[in-house]
Amino acid sequence: MSTETSPPPEGDVATLQAEVEALREEVATLKDDAEDQGRKMTIIATKGSLDMAYPPLILASTAAAFDWDVTVFHTFWGLDILHEERSRNLKLSAVGNPSMGVPNLVAAVPGMDAVATRMMARRIEDNGTASVEELIQLALDQGAELQACQMTADLMDYEDDEFYDGVTTGVGAAAALADMGDADIQLLV
C-alpha cells in the first residue's frame, strides 16, 4: 500500500478552478442585485370604513417616500377607498367599537354612525391629518401601485372610470400573489 497520494490529474484541477471562478462571479452578481434592489411591500386592503382606510394609505405613501416598491391590492370594501365618490364618504361604525365609549345598544341607534363619522372627520381636520383623497394622490404621485381587484369590482358594480385616475384595474388574485411572493413585507388590513 502506498502512502503517497497521487496528485489529481492536471485537467481536473483546471476544471475545478474554472468552476470556482464561475461560482465567485455568480455570487458577486447576486450580491450586486440584492444591494440594488430596494425593499418591496404589498398590502391587501379589505376594509372600507374611515378608520380602516388610513393604515394602508399612510403606510403606502410613507413606504414610497423610502423609495420602496409598493403595491396595495384593494378588494371587497377596500375598493371604496379607491372609488372617487365613495372615498369622500367613508363612514365610521359606532357599533362594536369600544373606543367610542357608548354601549352597543346605543351605538346601534339610527344616526349614531353619522355622529361618530362627523366627530372623527372634525378631528381629522383639526389635527392636520391628511384626507383619504390626499393620501391616495400622494401615494400615486410617488409611484405606489394601487390595484382594484377585478372580481370584487364586478361584484359591487364599480366601473373602471369610477376609480381615481392612476388606479390599476383588471387585477386578480394571481397578480396579488405574484407581488406578495417577492415582497419583503406583506400586510392584510
Binding site: 399612510i58 414610497a64 417616500a65 423610502f66 423609495d67 392636520g128 391629518t129 393620501l135 410617488q142
Partner: protein
C-alpha cells in the same frame, strides 16, 4: 436667529401630521441638487423620529440636525436634511 447650515430650501409642514412631514420632505428632496440642504419646519412631535427613521433607511440623504424651538408659544421641530445624491 441664524442657522449654521446653508439652507437651500425651506419646507413648512407646520400643522400637518403623520405621514405628511416625511412624505413632503421626500418630495422636496427630490427637487434638490446634490449637496443642497433642506430645512423642514414641523409641529408634529412624531416628525422627530419619523424623519430620523426615514433618513437612516433612505439612500442619498443625510440628516444633519434636529432642533426643537419655540415660535410664539408654538413648539416647532426643525430638521436639516442634506441631499447627498
Amino acid at each position: 436667529m441664524s442657522t449654521q447650515y446653508d439652507v437651500t430650501e425651506t419646507l413648512d409642514v407646520k400643522g400637518r401630521s403623520c405621514p405628511m412631514p416625511v412624505v413632503k420632505t421626500k418630495q422636496a428632496i427630490d427637487d434638490l441638487e446634490t449637496g443642497d440642504v433642506l430645512e423642514v419646519l414641523a409641529t408634529d412631535r412624531g416628525s422627530l423620529s419619523d424623519i430620523e427613521g426615514w433618513a437612516t433607511s433612505t439612500a442619498g440623504v443625510e440628516l444633519l440636525d434636529q432642533r426643537e424651538t419655540n415660535d410664539d408659544g408654538e413648539r416647532v421641530y426643525e430638521h436639516y436634511v442634506r441631499y447627498t445624491g
